[in-house]
Every structure is written in C-alpha cells, then in structure tokens.
C-alpha cells in the first residue's frame, strides 16, 4: 500500500518513425498529452523525474518549478524507479504532483544524446575489447546457458515473439501487426546466434509520461485513478559477464517480490502482467524470477498459450518491445499499457483487470524496477 495514484498517462501522439521531433520534444509531447489527460498544466506540477535526458532540461523546457527532482538513470526501467521514488516523495510531502517523462529518438536520432562505455570503466576494459556490438550481442549472452541447463529449444524461444505478435495484431498502434509463426521467426535474419531478427526488439521513436499524486486527491481529476499499490527496485551489475547467475536476474528477484509484498498480493491476484521484452528471453526470465513459473517451466508456459490472448496470465498485451514499439528505454511503454489495462482502455483489453504487475529491466540485466498498478487501493 502506497497511498499514491496515477491520474494522468499518455504516450506521444505518434509512435514509430518521427523524424520531425527531437528527443526533448518527444518528452514534451508525451508530457503535454499526460497533462491534458489529467486536466492540469505545467504550473500544477511540482515534482519531475526523467532519464535519458536531464530533469533540469525538462523542467526548463516545460516551464516547471519543481520542489522535488529525480534523475535516476539505470536504463530502460528508470521510470519504474521514478514511480517508486515519487511514491516516497509524495508520501513525505516533498511535492504534490509528479510528472515522469520519457522521450527517445531511438530510430531517427534527432537530438539524441550519445551512449558510450568509457574505456577505463570495468566494462570498457573487460568486455568491450571482445567485440560486443550493443545490446543484441550483450543482453543475449546468457541465454545459451539457460537453454542447456533447462532444455529450452530454439522453437520455444521463437514462440515468445509469436505470442506477442498475436497481441500486437489486435493493436492498431503496434509497429508490426501481421501474425507470424515459429518458422517465420527461425527463418528471419540471424543477428547474434541464437537470436534471430524477430527475437530482437524494434528500434523506434516515441515517448510517454505519467502524472502521480496522493490517493486522497486522486478523485479530483477527470480520469479514474489507477492506484500504485506496490513498488520494488534493485541493481546488480553493469557487466553482463558478471551476473551472479546466467539463468536468472538477481535484480528481478529483489524488485519483484518487494513490489508484491508492498502490495500484499499473491501470484493468483495478478490479472495482467507486463515484462519488459527487449529480447525474447526476457519474458522467460521474468516469469521465473517473479515466481509465476518454476525454474525451467516458463518456455512451456508460453508455448501452451498461457500468456496469449485468452490465456490464464495475459502478458505484454500491447505487443511488447518485440512488436509494439521500443525506443531504447521501453519501461515507460510497459507502464502505459498497465495503466490502460486497469482503466479498461487498452486496444487489446483483458477482461476485469483489477491488478497489473509491471516489471522493467535496465542496462541489460543491470537493473530492475517493478510496479503493481490496481483499480482499488490496497
């Protein structure tokens, strides 16, 4: 129980390829849409958090005079951590209305800030010399170990992408909507064995924003509140080579149970699940690290359509990073889908979503943030 609710949520007006907006304007476009959703303007906002750009830049650009600022930047799940930190700040009275923004010109690269590993960092010294070419060759490194230890087949890995395309086919805003088969996935271009193109996320432009306030004020806004009932966060390592266990994310196993304990929920209470899917193995790790499946059982769970439309645990219902959109820091879009599902406004709406659990990952397996969204406060 946190006593905080989402009263505004929106993505950028467009998603996909947006060459006519720079990165900071993608933040602003999403923020303005979220303010309109909440029926407020920048002068009503006194807390700001963002990652990928500096909160100073956003506060100035949007005309916000904050009493609370958070620039936590741990990769694509930073926005989940911002939600958790905002809950603490709102509860402590450090601010009354928080705006969390994301914008990224991931595809068009307009006004995007660079990313490089310093050659004197540990990753720069002990990983970069061996030829990694970004996330497709790093984030993917643990999965052969998982496949051997648990007997996961290439077909089972491919099925993750197939199921998410099933969801995307119901979503007019998804980048890819045409249904695909396991054979299609395995026939797509090899990027980094064992990962084919269709098992890797999209690279698109877009943004999203959330507005949070204390629950006792939440009914003063036009939208039905979506309550934040629990949160969790953790970090593990900036180096994929130094994960404690190649078949599990330690940060997932800390952040997930913390959020569920905070919300006082058990697995059977979860109606809808989002697991940040930069690559096809992420939902498998997420399902097991969160405890929805036993070790080694998530590939069968997905294969048997349990996370697909009509399944017992609908997951990544927007189509995910594999089919909906992925700007680089996807966590914001996962939370937007959780909010839509709880509000009942999603494109592929699941029946009776009272509780949506949203798990984000950041900096490859470096960090995790988890948020429990709910129709009623716990």
């Amino acid at each position: 129980m946190t006593g905080v609710a989402v009263v505004g949520a929106a993505e950028t007006t467009q998603l996909g390829k947006i060459p006519d907006l720079s990165q900071i304007q993608l933040h602003a476009d999403a923020a303005l849409n979220a303010m309109a959703d909440a029926g407020i303007t920048a002068k009503d906002i006194d807390g700001i958090a963002t990652a990928g750009s500096r909160p100073t830049d956003l506060a100035h650009y949007l005309g916000i005079t904050p009493t609370w600022v958070d620039g936590t930047a741990v990769g694509g799940c930073s926005f989940m951590l911002h939600v958790r930190h905002a809950v603490a700040a709102l509860t402590a009275g450090q601010c009354s209305t928080v705006l969390i923004t994301h914008g990224e010109s991931g595809r068009s690269g307009v006004g995007r800030e660079g990313f490089a590993r310093a050659p004197a960092s540990l990753s720069g010294q002990f990983e970069m010399p061996f030829g990694p070419m970004g996330p497709p060759t790093l984030f993917t490194l643990p999965v052969l170990r998982y496949m051997k230890d648990y007997g996961m087949s290439h077909e089972q890995l491919a099925m993750v992408a197939v199921v998410q395309r099933q969801w995307a086919s119901m979503n007019p805003r998804a980048s890819f909507q045409d249904p695909i088969t396991v054979d299609d996935v395995l026939a797509s271009k090899m990027i980094a064995y064992p990962f084919h193109l269709l098992e890797c996320c999209l690279v698109t432009d877009g943004g999203g924003a959330l507005i949070l306030t204390r629950a006792e004020r939440a009914n003063d806004f036009p939208q039905p509140p979506v309550y934040i009932n629990g949160t969790g966060e953790s970090v593990e390592t900036p180096m994929i080579s130094q994960m404690q266990d190649l078949t599990s994310s330690r940060a997932f196993t800390v952040a997930g149970p913390a959020a569920m304990a905070d919300a006082k929920i058990k697995h059977s209470d979860v109606d809808h699940l989002m697991v940040y899917d930069a690559f096809a193995h992420l939902p498998i790790y997420g399902l097991e690290d969160l405890g929805f499946c036993k070790r080694g059982e998530a590939p069968d769970f997905i294969w048997e359509q349990n996370t697909a439309p009509g399944g017992s645990l609908p997951m990544n219902t927007n189509g995910g990073g594999l089919s909906y959109m992925h700007s680089g820091m996807y966590g914001m879009y996962a939370m937007q889908e959780s909010v839509r599902q709880v509000r009942g406004t999603a494109a592929a709406q699941v029946d009776n979503v009272d509780i949506s659990l949203c798990l984000g990952v950041g900096g490859m397996f470096g960090a995790a943030g988890c948020v429990v969204f709910a129709k009623e406060p716990s």
Partner: protein, 138 residues
Amino acid sequence: MTESLRVLPMPTPETQHFWDGTREGELRLQQCNDCQHVYFPPRPFCPKCSSRDVQVMVASGRASLESYVISHRPHKAFVGPYAIALVALEEGPRMMTNITGCEQTPEALQLDMPLEVTFEDAGEDIYLPLFRPVGASS
C-alpha cells in the same frame, strides 16, 4: 606498434596488474586473504567481505565455455560471424572473451568444453586474454 581494430582497454591504477600480467603471459586474479574468495574484475578490496587485505594470484588459465553468442554484425576486428563468449575460470570467476583456434559455429562451440588461455597482442602494448579449446593451436 600495430594499430588495433579492437576497442582497447584503458587500464586504471586498480587494474594495471591485470594488464601487466597479460603482457607477461599470466592471467592474474585476486584473492582475499581474510575469506579466500577469488574474484574478477580487479579491485583493491574483496567484493564478498569488504576486506582490503587482498593479493594478486596467477590463475591456471583453464576454463570452460559457459555461454556465448555468435554475432553476425560486421566488426572491423573480425572476419565473418564471431563468438563473444563467457568462460568460467577454474578458480571460479567468469570473464568475457573470444574463442580462438576453432570454427565460430554452434557445432564447434559446445557449452562446457574445456578451454585454455592464450594471449593476443592487440597493439598499443595491450595483450588480450583469449581462450582456445584444450589441445588446439590458435
């Protein structure tokens, strides 16, 4: 001095012993004198018990193949698809590396196969620790 096509490391005071070691044909790890934990990457304290009483040790160079990807993205330092590998050192730590002396294919790269360290002159006075199948010539 040859120009390297790889991204080269920039040693720091805390890691200099490692890069001095590879130049001298040694794979150097560190061990805690209080709890005996053997660890990598380098730092002047034990990440397990926080003790500053640690020493440099020379690893056996024996390892096994723990996981990898075969990148199909073009890289100026490699010809064709190449494996980026994670190897488990006999002493416990895991490190990223490349596998030399064998085909860069799933058939040739079997998980848990035994490997041994070899050092490659990467230019600019940097020698990189690579691994090859035991008995192979790299």
